[in-house]
Symmetry: D3
Subunit: 276 residues, 6 copies
């Protein structure tokens, strides 16, 4: 597997480990996010290793790219196990896991693995959709219920940003539990995450379909790149314990522009780990 641009070879010295999860079995509309990791890597040569936003370069930091996990299409249970076990190994080795989806359900087994190490986790959830369903179409393990599944693990503090689609019940849940924030409420979010162990899960459909058309369930009214960068760079005083970028579907946007965009997001998130 071609590595993400700037990745180093050594596992031992790596602080962050990228890995691909080509899994999209529960996608409700258009599957294809299984190709996300391959395309993010394929086009990553096109972007620079240097970020003018952070004045930092991928060449200066220490991460490796472990390639894709082997996932059997259609076998959800075993997929969950494979993701969990790989994440657990990384955590044991003191690596920060950085998963490239695949669909959003993959976040669940990673958080389960992290919960064995961290008693409390603060989840920053960037997404167009609430993903708070109590099961979806009669099925528990689904991209549409992943945040609810994580919430039910207990001791999860939830910061949701960009949400603009869900059922009435899901919006009531957010209201009741005060989990929903806007990009402008950076300081309130910084208060909530201060000194916490934070996991960032970025569903790329949080972006407007105009800037990232390549996703299975696009939703009008999303954010654009510059406000996202201001938000990301404004987050501070927390301990980043894991990340993922999910739901890129290269099949939907055959120009590969969405993959290039996602590739740039990965670069900025990698560099963000080193900020502070």
């Amino acid at each position: 597997m071609k590595n993400f641009i700037g990745a180093k070879e050594s596992y031992t010295s790596a602080k962050i480990v990228l890995f691909g999860v080509p899994f999209d079995a529960t996608s409700s509309f258009r599957a294809g996010s299984r190709f996300g990791p391959d395309f993010i890597r394929l086009v990553s040569d096109e972007i620079e290793t240097y970020s003018p936003y952070q004045d930092r370069d991928l060449e200066d930091i220490n991460f490796m790219d472990a390639g894709n996990l082997e996932i059997s299409p259609g076998d959800i249970g075993s997929a969950m196990d494979v993701i969990h076990d790989f994440s657990a190994k990384l955590i044991k080795d003191n690596k920060i896991p950085f998963a490239l989806g695949g669909e959003h359900l993959i976040t669940y087994p990673i958080i389960k693995a992290l919960r064995k190490k961290y008693r409390e986790i603060t989840l920053i959830h960037l997404d167009a959709h609430t993903d708070l369903r109590e099961g979806y179409m009669g099925f528990q393990l689904s991209h549409a219920s992943v945040i609810r599944l994580i919430w039910d693990l207990k001791n999860i503090s939830l910061v949701q940003v960009g949400i603009r689609s869900g059922t009435r019940e899901e919006f009531r849940f957010m209201k009741k539990n005060q989990t929903l924030y806007s990009l402008n409420q950076l300081e309130k979010i910084n208060e909530k995450i201060r000194n916490k162990n934070v996991y960032i899960t970025l569903d790329v459909d949080v972006f407007d379909p105009s800037v990232l058309p390549g996703t299975g369930t696009p939703e009008a009214g999303g954010m654009t790149f510059v406000p996202f960068m201001e938000f990301l760079l404004g987050l501070r005083d927390f301990n980043l314990i894991g990340l993922d970028v999910v739901e890129l579907n290269p099949e939907v946007d055959r120009s590969q522009n969405s993959s290039i965009f996602a590739s740039q997001l990965v670069r900025e998130l990698l560099l963000k780990v080193y900020s502070k």
Copy 2:
């Protein structure tokens, strides 16, 4: 024909009747809006029935989907008759007609039918183009002259929003008749429509091609979703007598993202009928 998501079965109890008009015979650049209604319905499952913008759900309101009118391609005269007669029947049965285009010319026979019931009509025209030509390439019945045709029916009050393309003559017409408004002039518009019988015609190319690439004649510099929603929700104190969404061309945007966007517009407009 698959129904639009959330449509009820009963014509008798329906307040609004959706119908498709697969007609694009006068499209000057790229035809294909004939497929608009089918694709809006096809992807409508992908969106939620609940709108967080209006805190209202399609399940709670009463509309039915009458499918597509049968239109003979190329026979413009008979197409106008079919649209007119179907609209007239709906109006007679006290239904609010909601047409899914098809090209913009379809608005003309609907307004003609409505004018038999309403002596004066206020038209809110959202579009990138003025559509005020006195004939187009020597031909009277054309998408490029539809608003002029309607204007010539007399007793039409015109509110044009989003216009950014036309001939010098058309722009002079707008200036002379003071028909052009910006999204920011909501209060001036509310004054103009107060207690009026209002018809909303939404040419999807009023949106920026970035958020809705799937249209025949895209024009740079259009509006985006959130400002549109603020405008739509800000309209008040009028009597909505009909609506249409026209000029979606699914052939141009094969990712189906534009159809999903249009599907969401239809949901918001349907729910707006119930606001007040």
Copy 3:
């Protein structure tokens, strides 16, 4: 749901019942066959109801279109149950089931339902791939093992046509059990199926990718339309108890030409039921 062209409304009088199975959870390469049934119906208006190959018209025969089954994406077990139960009901009502996939795994629960009525079944399997795996990537219920699963139901007589891809073990299985035939061996096949209860399962990737590009796992060297028609029309003296057309993936071929081709296949197969 829009019906397939020429479908009648009455279930009671129908001899054949078309139904869609939007299921593709175990697709190994490119998912998307879930959209097969919708697109076959959507474009079916484009073809004529009359077949010059059979000199017979859809208007003259009696079939209905029951729409799509409701399938929860990602929940394979329950999908199998839904397909089985619906098929069982059709069989009980003396209808011939005609399934539109979806991926190939959907044939398995249909055959299971048919086996309760018929002690022996002869399967005519048109496909590029053997689908004889004993499990695929460690997973039993898979499109790649569907024919093996059916074989293991016992009392299955197998006629495989068009196969040109598989593992060495699968090709040995075919050789040992003498299941593989070429299009030219029509008479040998007619002998094998004489007076038998026959189910035809048509994986569209049996066709050359040039004539049907829209499939998940295309394989060079396939058949073309005219030889297929000669084969189909040459089959005789058997009792047709069920059919399916699977693995059309409209996402791969966005021109919709593959869907039009599949639509024509469905017409010919429907009319073939009435030959004898």
Copy 4:
């Protein structure tokens, strides 16, 4: 307008005049053949001027490219007039008209113009569809009835090749009037056209959708390039009075391969005029 490769500048000395007819108003499924002439020219640079099939070069022959006619979209009557009048002028000037469609209806006004000069015309009609409807969807002037309209001009001798789609009535018409031939019946066709004034109308959907996917109404089971060339080169002893290539829809095949194919057809037909 960019000229077709190898076109000369002089109208006076030209034997053949190519002209584009960007008209597709009656297309029943997918419009877009209006872009046919532009794309045929655009990609014509990609092919060689030399044909190894005929051992003849476009550089050696005398044709000019008159660009596109100005057609008002949607105004069928005036479009017919424009095509007729332009053709009539060419005929008066002793040019052979060679039209690039556009949809098939454009052949009708050209033949009408030719009939004023020639009392009898033999039409070689290459097409997937009979186009013999007596009106289509209640409308007379339609691509689906173009051959019937021409037939009704009287004194038309008809040779139909490649037809494989139509209604039962149309197939009966062909049988009764013995108009249908296969590619193999070259000698019977040569008898019928001997010493006749022949017009060749080539609807590109006569080709298999595999070799020419870019057309509005593809139909399985068509011909391929080499047998077509053998047929074309085998035609002899007739007087060629006009030609057209219609129904290329570049919107359907965005790879432009279909336009390149059509471009090559145009080259071979141009050179064929000079054979004898």
Copy 5:
């Protein structure tokens, strides 16, 4: 070659001469900008000749379209010569050269030709990328080093707008030489260009990939149409000696929307020459 909409025929009286440069030999990611000029012209009919932004019409101004230069693919040296010599001729004839790329390297020979007439040139460089490399992948003549090559011609004053990608070294160069401006620094820019001979080079990837997806190396966070127009119209008191629009890649955006957008940019730049 089809002319750009509104172009006049006479070279003698033309003030501006448009010409296409189908050259993309050094494109690092996706070649295809060679098709830029053809597609800009092809779709230019779709836009109006009238600009409501400038209240000025292409019909009122005097420019001609000289078609495309003949460029041998792969022979960079001779391509540079062809561009240089053609530009030199235009400059000698007192025409303003307006080049349609092609890739960005084409700006270099134009500036070289202009430098023979003008001792000092102020370059307004709109781009996502710095293009300040000292050679790219060991090669000097490259789109990635074009601005550096120009800078090294001496007596170049540089205004860079929209830059958001480059190496650390390139960003340091910009900082040291104070070449980078934001759209908001219009007045500072106007000071810098006052009474200067100004060349505007517009790499279309300065725009956000959402509004112009059709480019080889898209970069998130770009500008949109309206702010660009405000910037363009705000520039004043300078002498415009040449322009180019480069890096449109129609292959990447097959909807042709990007070409339409570029076509509109060309119209606005043409009209801008006449402002003052």
Copy 6:
């Protein structure tokens, strides 16, 4: 870089070395073959390692995948050197070079390297185009003249198969030198290659555009898969010293079907090395 399916890790024990050459600088129509090697590898997982045509499996043979050469876009001279030097090293190490293009010009430096070892080389050239130009558009190093360049190296015996496009001069060259064969002349070819050192260069446009649409310069009337396989398997009694597969352009065929087809060609050629 992801390896081609079935590749072994060890260079030392490898008999064949695959390597990618992402070079397309002289492409005359549509560049993009630079992405050929990446896409062949990316989709190679989709095909089986077992070939039923040869009853042989990639797992049983010994080849490695050396990834892509580093090529500077636009610098043809240095690209030629890089390819030559890498090939020379392989030849020195007694490996059989197997290049994945990239455009056809890449064959030239490989043959140059082989000529240092082999005094005479027999070239089997499968292609739609003669590639015998003496320079193309005034430029010597071009895909259109690659076979002529090789011929001019002297002591080249040439077998051309599938050629159907070129200038009159090129066809005369082939006639004079008797280099052109049809697929049916297998035995004549076998005579010519008996006991010779043979290099096979396969330009994928030798195939019909229907089966392989993804190429820059498609040409009607090409071969299909099964006849090609019969030809390939029928070649015998020669010493295979090198191979390449060139001119796959994945940008043209975004369905990736062409890449899958090419991937299968690579498998069959790899296995053919082991036949005898």
